[in-house]
């Protein structure tokens, strides 16, 4: 009997023993209680006997996958069968928000422990530096989120799991669950329309509609654990982390200098922050006028830029139409498409180079786009003309067939007349 009991205990030991062995040296492993004969030998999840609502956490989520059980965070004695004993030892219970962050950090800030999973360990330090962390640790403000509010409490999914609240498409909603709450935000004088703006922004459309996870969510610009709004002089650099070439051109131009001096909120001056609008080609000068005024010297310059961009847009569109026309007529358009792609590269370069506000560069690119467009248009026109010439065949077709029909009808009439004559002569 005793042998059987011991065997069962040792067989179950790896599951229970691993988190126990991984515990910091200061804590002692809970001693196994005297087993009631016939009781279950799995003592790792004994807490679930009472806390049945947390049962799923024992099997689901990244912690369950890696053998992190109740006792790893809450302490206590999972092998106990009675309450005082179960909540004995280093029992943590339900930690408050600040303690929760410390508790998570006790493992997640340990490089030795995280090496196995390839996880970074700076989250707690970053969190302390963030606005949320400052409020939580400095002022004991419980409005701010702690780790579990974004990552989940007992069932914690990794960020690449679509069920996670920090999965890319879920992040904006997770942030908005507090930041769209007007009552909560009124206390801190923070606006609540960021999510609504983001949803329709270039980034939001890319994220939600195109499922393009290269598009930034809230954390892309504000940081995930070290969340804070970028300062005025930082903005261009933050955008430039993704829009590298645009930022290089921007920095070379007059606006770049102004932004470095803090006189201009960087990219946001034209594109706004959470709404991130693209500036349509035909409203470039109107955008410039917002700051410079329509009676300023700059206005004519803005109109010149707009003129070139509008013209280049029309050119590239007409080149695309020309290729479609040729393809519909059965032409092999591989070469023309290649030509079109080079034109498209110049066109995209316009979008990037115009941030430098140099008219000569723009002129050069617009001319290149135009030359591609004219080339393709003329080829498409040639195809259309030869297609039109096909229709000239209608003339001989109808001339010949109508002549044949008329001749046949005349012959038929002649035959009938002959028959009638012969009939009458017979009678």
């Amino acid at each position: 009997m005793l042998t059987a009991l011991l065997t069962a205990t040792f067989v179950a030991a790896p599951a229970a023993g691993r988190p126990a062995a991984a515990r910091p040296a200061g804590r002692t492993a809970p001693t196994l209680p005297a087993q009631v004969p016939g009781a279950t030998a799995d003592t790792a999840n004994g807490c679930l006997a009472c806390h049945a609502a947390q049962r799923r956490a024992a099997t689901e989520g990244i912690h369950a996958e890696h053998g992190v059980t109740c006792v790893s965070c809450h302490g206590g004695d999972p092998a106990a069968v009675t309450l005082p004993r179960g909540h004995s030892g280093h029992f943590v219970g339900t930690p408050d928000k600040a303690a929760t962050a410390e508790l998570c950090g006790s493992c997640h800030s340990d490089p030795d422990r995280m090496r196995e999973y390839g996880l970074p360990t700076g989250q707690l330090a970053q969190f302390r530096s963030s606005k949320h962390g400052q409020l939580l640790f400095g002022q004991h403000n419980n409005d701010v989120p702690t780790c579990t509010d974004c990552h989940g409490t007992h069932i914690i999914y990794p960020p690449y799991d679509a069920r996670s609240r920090v999965y890319p498409t879920n992040i904006p909603g997770t942030c908005a669950s507090c930041h769209s709450d007007p009552k909560l935000m009124a206390k801190y004088h923070i606006r609540t329309d960021q999510f609504a703006q983001f949803r329709n922004s270039a980034h939001g459309v890319a994220l939600f509609q195109d499922q393009n996870f290269a598009a930034p969510t809230c954390v892309g610009c504000h940081g995930a654990h070290s969340e804070l709004p970028p300062t005025v002089t930082e903005i261009a650099s933050v955008c430039g982390r993704c829009h590298v070439l645009v930022e290089q051109e921007f920095a070379k131009g007059p606006h770049g200098a102004a932004a470095r001096a803090g006189k201009l909120p960087g990219c946001l001056a034209c594109h706004s922050n959470h709404g991130t609008e693209r500036v349509p080609a035909d409203s470039i000068s109107a955008t410039c006028d917002r700051c410079h005024g329509s009676d300023s010297q700059v206005h004519q310059f803005a109109v010149d830029i707009q003129h070139r961009v509008v013209q280049a847009t029309a050119d590239i569109q007409s080149a695309e139409r020309a290729i479609d026309q040729m393809a519909a007529a059965g032409e092999r358009v591989g070469y023309y498409r290649f030509r079109y792609k080079s034109g498209l590269t110049y066109f995209r370069e316009i979008a990037q180079k115009q941030h430098r506000l140099n008219l000569d560069t723009l002129d050069d690119l617009a001319r290149r786009v135009r030359s591609v467009s004219i080339d393709l248009d003329s080829r498409a026109k040639g195809t259309q003309e030869s297609r039109w010439e096909h229709k000239l065949l209608l003339l001989p077709v109808w001339f010949l067939s109508l002549s044949a029909v008329v001749l046949a009808l005349l012959a038929l009439r002649g035959l009938r007349k002959r028959d009638r004559d012969s009939d009458s002569s017979e009678t």
Binding site: D143, A162, R199, F208, A328, A411
Partner: protein
């Protein structure tokens, strides 16, 4: 071999000379008579010249006239389809790698290849019309009554062969329209009770329309169906020849012996034939079938353009009446096809056959209306514009980016001690 018997050789030459002399009259079939030089001397029972004269002198019943033209029109269009089809097959390559490129080559590289292709497309549309008009004439004119009911069944089989020709030929261009129309069509066919799934497995040969499907459709289109149709046509014509043209509703046979096939009916054939060729050429010249983008099984096209009369009709029926309307129309067609097998009364006047008249009028009116509606629908968007496809739709929430329904217990209140509710069951 003749030289061994000089007498027989001389006889052969005498007969040959006589035949040559007979061939020098201004006959329309002088070339075929020269063929008779080979045929005549060898087969003494009926020299070819005489055989032709006999055929030309064959007297048609006095009822034969313009009303009988539709069958001939359908036959002429079939001949056009065979000729253009053979020419196309010189260049067409039935593989997913080469099909689209070979069509491009036919349209833009081969001289008059574009004409062959457009003529093939348009003759395929017109042959359906010709066959249906022929069918309507037979149906309303009670030409299917005994002894011609077998020929009605052969005719119906020919009509189905025409449909099968069009359906299999539709896939061969291997562009987006043909690929997705066939996918759609096979999906509809798969829902046919009892045989649908089995039939589609055989036809498609793969879980999706693929190269295997293309090979099967090509083989059916150029090997199976042509031989089948040739056999059916031979039977059809033999039966027409055996039973003669059906008598008119108000038969008045007294004192009329009919006219010889040549030149009376031959001239009518020349007139209708010329007009049919001219109409097919005109349609092909004025409305060439565009070459769509190459087939892409991963991406349905934004617009699905239909290029075949039956695709127009079925699409309009499904679009306006739904699947049940389409099914009801198929039942109506089946009723029309089967009715002549049961309708064996000698009554020929349409006024005395109200059920037949109603059925026929309903069928042909629906067909014509659906065709007209299909023309208006020629290209319908595959999805309602602006709406996300099912693939793009987020399975998790109605609004993009909305927070997930929480799986774990929702973020708990900031204060500690609320997690004790579960311990109520503890002893």
């Amino acid at each position: 071999m003749m030289s061994r018997d000089p007498k027989a050789a001389r006889e052969w030459f005498v007969r040959l000379w006589a035949d040559l002399k007979a061939s020098t009259d201004a006959s329309l079939l002088v070339i075929l008579r020269f063929v008779g030089l080979l045929y005549g001397p060898l087969d003494t029972r009926l020299p070819i010249g005489k055989a032709f004269r006999k055929a030309l002198r064959h007297r048609l019943s006095p009822e034969a006239g313009w009303r009988q033209a539709f069958g001939g029109i359908a036959y002429l269009l079939f001949i056009i389809l065979v000729v253009t089809g053979v020419l196309l097959s010189f260049y067409y390559r039935p593989s997913t790698q080469e099909a689209y490129q070979s069509i491009q080559h036919i349209v833009s590289g081969v001289s008059f290849g574009w004409l062959m292709r457009d003529l093939h497309v348009w003759a395929a549309n017109l042959v359906v019309l010709g066959a249906l008009l022929h069918m309507a004439r037979v149906f309303f004119g009670a030409a299917y009554k005994p002894p011609r009911e077998t020929n009605w069944i052969v005719g119906v089989l020919l009509l189905f062969s025409v449909f099968a020709f069009g359906a299999t030929g539709y896939l061969l261009p291997w562009d987006q329209w043909s690929y997705w129309t066939v996918t759609e069509g096979l999906d509809i066919l798969a829902r046919t009770p009892l045989v649908g799934g089995w039939l589609v497995r055989i036809l498609r040969a793969d879980p999706i329309v693929s190269g295997a499907t293309l090979s099967r459709f090509f083989a059916i289109h150029v090997i199976v169906l042509p031989w089948l149709v040739l056999g059916l046509l031979a039977l059809h014509f033999a039966l027409v020849r055996k039973h003669g043209v059906a008598p008119r509703v108000s038969a008045n046979r007294t004192g009329r012996t009919g006219v010889p096939f040549f030149p009376y009916h031959f001239l009518r054939m020349v007139i209708t034939g010329t007009l049919v060729v001219a109409v097919a050429l005109t349609a092909a010249l004025l409305f060439p079938r565009p070459v769509a983008a190459p087939a892409n099984p991963a991406q349905p096209p934004g617009m699905l353009f239909s290029t075949w009369i039956l695709a127009d009709v079925s699409r309009a029926l499904i679009y306006y009446l739904g699947g049940w309307g389409f099914g009801a129309f198929l039942l109506l067609g089946a009723g029309m096809v089967l009715l002549p097998i049961f309708d064996r009364s000698p009554e020929r006047r349409l006024r005395r056959r109200p059920i037949v008249a109603a059925l026929g009028v309903l069928f042909f009116l629906t067909f014509a209306t659906a065709w007209g509606a299909g023309w208006r629908l020629r290209s319908i968007p595959t999805t309602t514009s602006g709406e996300l496809t099912p693939f793009q739709k987020q399975p998790t929430g109605a609004t993009p980016g909305a927070p997930l329904p929480s799986i774990a217990p929702a973020s708990r209140p900031a204060t500690s001690g609320s997690d004790t509710t579960n311990s109520g069951g503890a002893p």
